[in-house]
Symmetry: C2
Subunit: 574 residues, 2 copies
């Protein structure tokens, strides 16, 4: 039995676009004699739909699309069975289900409702869906199979074990398919393998075909990487990484095994020392080139930018270039996602800016091929200072004047983007500074998308190194990579004036944010308790800033806003 794995990029609510994509895939799979084609979770609607699920027109259009596909299959693709994700509604109770429809010869021959509804991190499925209670199986060419949807295979924390129960009730099941919209994190690939292996064991050796969405929706990024796993643990990635693909597997009913139909995706090769570009050679292979973490983060962020622009109807990006590492990395990512001709850099030096801030930014822009404007902010800064000091006398806090500079820059960026159709500002704050509030609200936090808001500063450096490795030279200038980080908002300022070194800061933050360790747990690590206390207080006290930040692309196990929901008025002190 030949199965087509339709790893597609759906758009939330764009039924016309999703329909065209679904039908194009059915046509191609049908012409390649596939017996079955499988789509990702919530194929018709995109995922996550959020409160659009409360709109009855939205639900109706999703049902209508399923019927249109039935009609198309009846007319044009009678031999292929289609398994597609959609939202089902119990018209009596109004309850919604996250479901799969099985379509053959123009008829919905059955449906499966997702059992396990994730309601943690950025997931809110219990807000919308009722858990499925049925355990159906389906047949094609006389071969029985079971369907599961995303979380159903991640059953470790749940009492309901859909795969086990499906096997108990339908002993004839030969294999499982899983429709997923499983968001990327740089650590998830390993979990997936382990989890799938366990489910194969639970099912006494039934192989699983995992079909994942690809693309991005607001901050969430879906990595694709569709795959199958056989009883012996043989594990093959059959879907492309961070890209749409339509590929095929054969299921052999006698050996009960999947076999790939010859399509393999090339995975990133890790360089040997003598393959490194000259600029790296002196120091050997940097550690960030020894795993595929940076490859994945790079691909994820590029896809995240591209899809956010495409799905919101924007084309052009404005970025403030400070000569520092954060804005350089964001600019390089934007160029990969949108092409350099659609990226504009604004250099906005003040009297506190170092000379290298301009020269480093200009060199970056030249390397990337992006247009720049250089705008001195002093005249505007002086107009504010004159006005404000005329009323209030001298500033009481030097933070006031620092923030003012950042906000003038924010205004200029917004003015440029307002004046250029379909243009958006990209904000450049990293996860370390967003965590501790080392950033200015309405200043450097301005923008429509926070590209590296989920990337710690130490990883921003690795990402810069990885992009320079891809380019084969210091595309992100050597000086940008090597100089000590500074906000340059007052003379001689360095980040380490206010913060511990980033290696220490990031370790503490990873424990507090990703691992959700408490103060008592963190200080068991080798940290100065006073430093830990200070950092945790900074994180807590700056929640108000994060709640007004642009949506951030998510690449970690816990981002700062969607997956971590904290009160602003918070009386809990360590």
């Amino acid at each position: 039995m030949k199965i087509a794995v339709a790893q597609i990029n759906t758009s939330v609510g764009n039924f016309q676009k999703n329909k065209e994509n679904i039908i194009a895939n059915i046509v191609e799979a049908h012409s390649n004699d596939a017996d079955l084609i499988v789509f990702p979770e919530c194929t018709t609607t995109g995922y996550p739909q959020k409160d659009l699920l409360y709109n009855s027109d939205f639900i109706d259009q999703n049902i209508k699309l399923v019927h249109e596909i039935c009609k198309f299959v009846e007319d044009e693709a009678r031999n292929i069975m289609v398994v597609i994700g959609f939202v089902n509604k119990n018209s009596l109770t109004g309850e919604l289900y996250n479901s799969a429809a099985v379509i053959e010869n123009g008829t919905i021959i059955g449906t499966y409702d997702k059992h396990l509804l994730p309601n943690y991190k950025f997931f809110d499925e219990r807000r919308y869906f009722t858990p499925g209670t049925r355990y159906p199986s389906f047949k094609k060419n006389g071969i029985e199979f079971g369907i599961t949807i995303c979380e159903d295979i991640w059953d470790d924390g749940y009492q309901d074990k859909p795969i086990t129960e499906l096997c108990n009730i339908n002993a004839g099941i030969k294999f499982f398919i899983n429709l997923s919209s499983s968001p990327f994190s740089s650590l998830k690939e390993a979990y997936r393998a382990t989890t799938l292996r366990r489910r194969v064991e639970d099912s006494e050796g039934r192989p699983i075909l995992y079909v994942n969405q690809v693309g991005a929706q607001d901050g969430l990024i879906f990595d694709g990487y569709s795959l199958f796993i056989n009883a012996d643990g043989y594990y093959v990635i059959i879907g492309d990484a961070f890209k749409e693909s339509l590929t095929y597997v054969n299921f052999n009913e006698f050996t009960k095994e999947f076999k790939s139909c010859g399509v393999y995706f090339s995975h990133p090769q890790f360089p040997k020392h003598d393959e490194l570009p000259k600029v790296f050679k002196a120091e050997g292979v940097p550690s960030y080139l020894k795993t595929n973490e940076m490859f994945k983060i790079y691909k994820a962020l590029v896809l995240g930018i591209r899809d956010y622009f495409e799905k919101t109807g924007f084309e052009k990006a404005y970025i403030g270039l400070s000569g520092g590492i954060d804005s350089a990395v964001v600019c390089a990512l934007a160029c990969s996602a949108l092409q350099p001709k659609n990226v504009v850099g604004l250099l906005m030096p003040s009297r506190y800016s170092s000379k290298h801030s301009v020269t480093d930014a200009l060199l970056l822009a030249k390397n990337l091929g992006v247009k720049t404007h250089t705008i001195k902010i002093d005249e505007m800064h002086q107009a504010y200072n004159k006005t404000l000091k005329g009323i209030n006398g001298e500033y009481k806090s030097d933070v006031t004047e620092q923030n003012l500079q950042a906000r003038i820059r924010g205004n200029l960026l917004m003015a440029f983007s307002n004046d250029d159709k379909r243009a958006m500002v990209l904000s450049t704050g990293n996860k370390s500074e967003m965590s501790v509030g080392y950033c200015t609200q309405y200043g450097d936090m301005c923008g429509g998308l926070a590209v590296i808001a989920d990337v710690y500063k130490t990883k921003v450096y690795s990402l810069a190194g990885y992009m320079n490795f891809l380019a084969g030279y210091f595309m992100i200038p050597k000086n940008t990579v090597e100089k000590p980080p500074s906000a340059e908002l007052k003379p001689g300022q360095k980040d380490t004036d206010s913060l511990p070194p980033y290696e220490v800061l990031d370790s503490i933050l990873m424990r507090y944010i990703e691992k959700q360790e408490s103060y008592d747990e963190i200080i068991k690590g080798n940290f100065d308790p006073a430093v830990v206390k200070k950092i945790l207080m900074m994180v807590d006290n700056n929640e108000f800033k994060r709640q007004q930040a642009p949506p951030g692309l998510i690449i970690s196990e816990r981002d700062l806003t969607t997956g971590r929901r904290m009160p602003i008025a918070n009386g809990f002190k360590v």
Copy 2:
């Protein structure tokens, strides 16, 4: 049996403050010979705790506080039974429960776990808590009673009916108590009465004592209004409105009825025509004085501001005063909440500002007794224009220059607040303009709290009228109330240039947002379909602005962000 109703204002995570408050109430109730004292839901931790619940130190401190209360009761208040809300943890599985502890003689004699966990609107309880499965009852002075927690009495949409089941299992139950942290909406009082009446029927006539939290947590406002309801439907509000109170009821075990111990709270009286201040007389009693809706909205917003400042450690508010109705209402509310000496108005006229914008704002400030600064923004505006036009030539879009003015004002407000310790900017956008995006990101949207973000423009006028009624004169100036609304960002601009009249706009918005009607449903009302389509598109397309807005005080059945969670990348078009 004498029962103390401790309607207290808890603070999320502030265990020391909550402890002092709890103990002070126990001491007073004990000295008044109460047999039982009942506190609201999640008394120890405050509510909602959000992701603080993942912090093991936080859970531990909450358990520790329960033990400290036991110890205190043992030492100082042996005769009184204490029912208190806390978070229980199954130390084997790590599962959390939203629970009540029953304390007597220094011992926890039992606990009840909340069954029904709301996971809609701004509620996320399924994210954190496991539903209770036990149906215990408790006894004091030989009288058996049952405990429920908040949603447990709102069981209409659920299969589990805690009250009914508790009666089935414990036939001897004489009355119920309900510990609540039930957020205010201006429509909720009527729902509460109906719901409680149904539960009394379900329990075959057991009376219910409902003990609600009072206070505010970020955008949520808890109104208090604790009450009891007897078998015959006799319904008495025993807790104050929007204020802490400790009051008493007697339960008569023979008649099976609650009776108030003499404390009644005065409710707002609705004025007759000849009691109206002179300014209103000509027009008769305005409709917004014929119900207590404005009384409640006014009280709720004042409490919301006061608690947000107190619980985040701020004291002083800066408000941009445009001479318009929105900023006037916000300024008047801030004065009620924080005292006029802690409120500063900034007048920031431009060359497009009408003369009355300044005179109206100054008259308001004089009436309220707040300090003002007047700052002409032209010099800064010209500095931007000169710089930007030097690079880009003429502006292509007049929105650019309009936004720039709003953003200069935002910068000035932020500079003043940055330079004044413990000061916060209050943003002044109303629900109508926040819905359709008739506001400038990083401009008039700047601030730490969006005071009237959940109040439609038409209701802002009613609120102004109500406050003028309380004041007995046009405290909010007559001209501010009567002139046509304008953003004054270009010559002769009026809101109705871009928007339908507010009566029409607000009706459409209420259907789309509060009632979640779809386009097809809305046009069944008496609206121009083209206008409906335009408005719905404006709402959808401006989601990106709302997601970067300050937290807004919630007074309706559905606010724009916490209770309504929409995608930004949204391909669904009507």
